[in-house]
């Protein structure tokens, strides 16, 4: 920071505009050549002098300086003394530069000769921007019809203060901003700037406590209809200005008083905190502005009051209330407005500028209308925040999936500001969908490939009954074509044909179930039965290799919860795996032992052990990895699929070498709830 401070004056030497740097006490520290040209004072005579050397209005200047240091910047016309003693009209812009700790470091002033006398707005825009008044021009035409009711209530024998307050608030709500000066924008406009305040309801900006006095004063001025006369009132401090004085007057020459000027004078409340607030606020704004999360600042303050009323009516179930009063949701969508958005929001919504997004919030909920209702319910129920995955339509016609979050104002907060945040998760969701698809495809491919490995057995298995059927049918025909048909023999053959056909059908059914790509089912099933069916499937593989199957099924085993076909796949995989391992086993017994049991957690356990060579110790941890294989012709996906299927069942699978030799696989899955 200090390095750049040294360079700036050098650059300013070349500036065509007057650049002056003051220290915080108003002593000139730098004076560029353009300043010499503008004011006539040479730099050497100015460095070290106070600002009072340039200005005759020393009293005003002192007050101005104090406010400048508080508020950080100022711009406007000024009068400066030249060496000849004459006054020079200049337009100046002053900026306070702050240290990291929030204290003022110095003041940079840019100045140029005033371009004309009619600088600040034409026509009726004649608010004297004297010493930092926050000035407003307001359109009151919409509020005028409310005046009779207000006056009537006031004139009543015993005015109802609550009704007066309500009418006052409605009055301010109905007034529109026509123009504001920089200071008003700075004090209450957030970082919207005057352009964005124009056209909005005055109530959006006016502090709640000061709305009723504003209404009263405006009504007083409008009713008196005396252009030129200023109506003044001292207001209590409102957290923004200390002991402000509010002035209201009418523009001249209007038949109906449809516009008023309002000025609020006062120093910023609590200058110390204001200073720190400024610094921290600037940091906060910068932070928000550049936050990677899209953010909306939303003013739903009027809804808070509506909710309080509804709660006052004894409503507790707001959800039910909204079902009866859907119009309230529409009302919120078309009355709650966005008061600020950050750069990410502009990007996310494909907007040209922040202004495109600063309107009523309903555009945020066109793709997921139910979300607005939930946002409202969250606030009604006093939640601090609410978040959900919703879809939004952007301005440039895209539909996005976003993680939408709402941070509600805390109840005794001075500022009634709700923050909406959105994080684009479209890609993530797309990726997840694709991943799921990929996983499904992978599982499917694995099934098919496993089927491929089993194709020979399948063809063999299906062809056996078919061969029997064909031969039996032809034999029947031969018996029938004899001179004396042997009906008994034909009956017998036909019964065999039917039996073989049923067998073929069962096999086809099993294969179809296995190959079918479908959503897994969760049903109560008997794991022993599943194991028996799986054994049927691999009977051929096992028999060809002369492998003995020993089963030890637990008695009264509770039902397991799972998908029959998937669990069969696991078992078939494990069985084929063991059968292949046993193939290389030339000595000793070739045996696969299947056992079922329950573990301590009540889960159903299946253990499969073979008498093969077992697994290499350093392979055991990797056997369930996809594409891990020690076989030349294996894909290495069988066990990976087993693991993913068992995991999907909420179970676990493990591999080990049995102490007595051979590999052992064990999986456990949850029991069916009612059997547990």
């Amino acid at each position: 920071m200090s390095g750049s401070a040294g360079r700036e004056p050098d650059i300013a030497d070349l500036a065509s505009e007057s650049v002056i740097i003051f220290d915080t006490a108003g002593v000139i520290r730098y004076w560029n050549p353009a300043s010499e040209a503008l004011y006539g004072w040479p730099a050497m005579s100015m460095i070290g002098r106070g600002i009072d050397h340039l200005s005759d209005r020393t009293v005003d200047e002192g007050e101005h300086w104090r406010l400048l240091l508080q508020e950080g910047n100022w711009q406007g016309p000024a009068s400066r003394r030249t060496p000849s003693g004459s006054q020079l009209a200049v337009d100046i812009r002053q900026y306070v530069r702050f240290n990291a700790d929030g204290t003022a470091r110095d003041v940079v002033e840019y100045g140029r000769r005033a371009q004309g006398t009619e600088q600040h707005g034409g026509g009726d825009w004649q608010i004297p921007d004297r010493l930092m008044a926050a000035s407003w021009e307001m359109d009151v035409s919409g509020a005028l019809p409310l005046i009779p009711a207000l006056l009537e209530e006031k004139a009543a024998a015993s005015p109802d203060p609550a009704r007066l307050t309500t009418l006052g608030l409605e009055f301010v709500q109905a007034m529109r901003v026509l123009n504001v000066n920089e200071r008003a924008a700075r004090l209450v406009g957030g970082n919207r700037g005057p352009e964005l305040m124009i056209g909005q309801s005055v109530a959006v900006f006016w502090p709640i406590e000061a709305r009723a006095p504003l209404a009263e004063l405006v009504i007083e001025a409008v009713t008196a209809n005396d252009p030129g006369t200023t109506h003044r009132r001292q207001l209590p401090s409102d957290g923004i200005l200390r002991d402000p004085v509010m002035s209201v007057w009418l523009p001249p020459d209007r038949e109906t008083p449809d516009r008023v000027f309002v000025a609020a004078n006062g120093t910023a409340d609590d200058d110390r905190s204001y200073l720190y607030l400024r610094a921290s606020e600037a940091r906060y704004r910068k932070l928000v502005q550049f936050m990677p999360m899209a953010m909306w600042q939303v003013d739903a303050s009027h809804m808070g009051k509506i909710y309080a009323d509804i709660r006052g009516q004894g409503v507790e179930d707001f959800d039910a209330y909204l079902t009866e009063h859907p119009e309230l949701i529409d009302f919120a969508g078309t009355s709650v407005s966005v008061t600020n958005v950050n750069r990410s929001a502009v990007q996310l919504f494909g907007a040209e500028s922040p202004h495109d997004l600063m309107r009523h919030v309903d555009y945020l909920f066109t793709a997921t209308p139910s979300a607005l209702r939930k946002v409202m319910i969250g606030r009604f129920n006093g939640q601090q925040n609410w978040t959900d995955l919703i879809k939004v339509h952007t301005l440039d016609g895209r539909t996005l999936d976003v993680q939408f979050s709402v941070t509600y104002p805390k109840p005794p907060a001075e500022l009634d500001v709700t923050i909406f945040g959105m994080i684009d998760v479209t890609e993530r969701i797309q990726m997840e969908t694709e991943l799921r698809q990929l996983q499904a495809d992978y599982t499917h491919a694995a099934r098919i490939s496993m089927l491929g490995e089993l194709t020979t057995s399948i063809a063999h298995e299906v062809n056996q009954p078919l061969a029997a059927i064909v031969t039996n049918a032809e034999t029947s025909l031969r018996w029938l074509s004899r001179d004396e048909p042997n009906v008994e023999k034909v009956k017998e053959l036909t019964a065999r044909i039917a039996a073989s056909a049923r067998r073929a059908n069962e096999i086809v059914q099993r294969i179809r179930n296995m190959a079918a790509k479908r959503e897994p089912e969760r049903v109560a099933l008997d794991l022993d039965e599943v194991a028996q069916e799986a054994l049927l499937f691999v009977r051929d593989e096992v028999e060809v290799r002369a492998i003995r199957i020993a089963t030890d099924f637990a008695k009264d085993l509770p039902k397991a919860m799972g998908d029959r076909v998937q669990l069969q796949q696991v078992l078939v995989n494990l069985l084929v795996n063991s059968a292949q391992a046993l193939e290389v086993q030339n000595q000793g017994e070739r045996e696969i032992r299947l056992a079922t049991s329950r573990d301590a957690d009540g889960r159903i356990v299946l253990t499969l052990r073979d008498t093969g060579p077992g697994m290499a110790e350093d392979h055991i941890d990797r056997v369930f990895e996809g594409f891990f294989t020690t076989k030349d012709n294996g894909m290495g996906i069988g066990l990976a699929i087993c693991q993913s299927i068992i995991a999907e069942h909420g179970g676990s699978i493990s591999a080990s070498n049995h102490p007595d030799g051979g590999a052992q696989f064990r999986f456990a899955i949850p029991a069916h709830a009612t059997d547990a």
Binding site: L466, A467, A468, I469, T471, N472, R478, E484, E543, V544
Partner: protein
């Protein structure tokens, strides 16, 4: 009266064995069935067979291994392979071992009996007349 030719059927599937046996018998041939290759090799009566019909994929010992054993024992028993295995390598081995035919399952009776007839007649045996006609 000429001798009735005896055909051996080796297949691990009972339904297939039964069906083949019935077909051979209705044709007027005699038939013996074996549920595995070792069962065939271990049966003395098998030596009286005039022709062998064997499956390939069977537990314990395959039909090809059976043929190999027979040829190793200098048997020139005519053999027909009846299988659902599609394996060129195995088929070539069967050819080399002198199998007369490699027939895919399921097989029609005319095809099977046609091959059987030429196998038996090649061995000088008399094909029985159709008993019913």
């Amino acid at each position: 009266m000429p001798r009735i030719p005896l055909v051996a059927v080796v297949d691990d599937d009972e339904a297939v064995r039964q069906a083949l046996c019935d077909l051979l018998m209705v044709t007027g041939l005699a038939c013996r069935t074996f549920e595995s290759a070792p069962a065939f090799l271990g049966d003395a009566a098998a030596r009286d067979c005039d022709c062998l019909i064997t499956d390939v994929r069977m537990p314990g010992m395959s039909g090809i291994d059976l043929l190999e054993r027979l040829r190793g024992d200098s048997s020139d028993l005519p053999a027909i392979v009846l299988t659902s295995v599609v394996d060129e390598h195995l088929r070539m081995r069967a050819d080399a071992l002198g199998a007369l035919a490699w027939l895919p399952k399921p097989v029609t009776d005319d095809v099977l009996l046609g091959h059987l007839k030429s196998a038996l007649e090649g061995g000088g045996l008399v094909w029985p007349d159709d008993p019913g006609t």
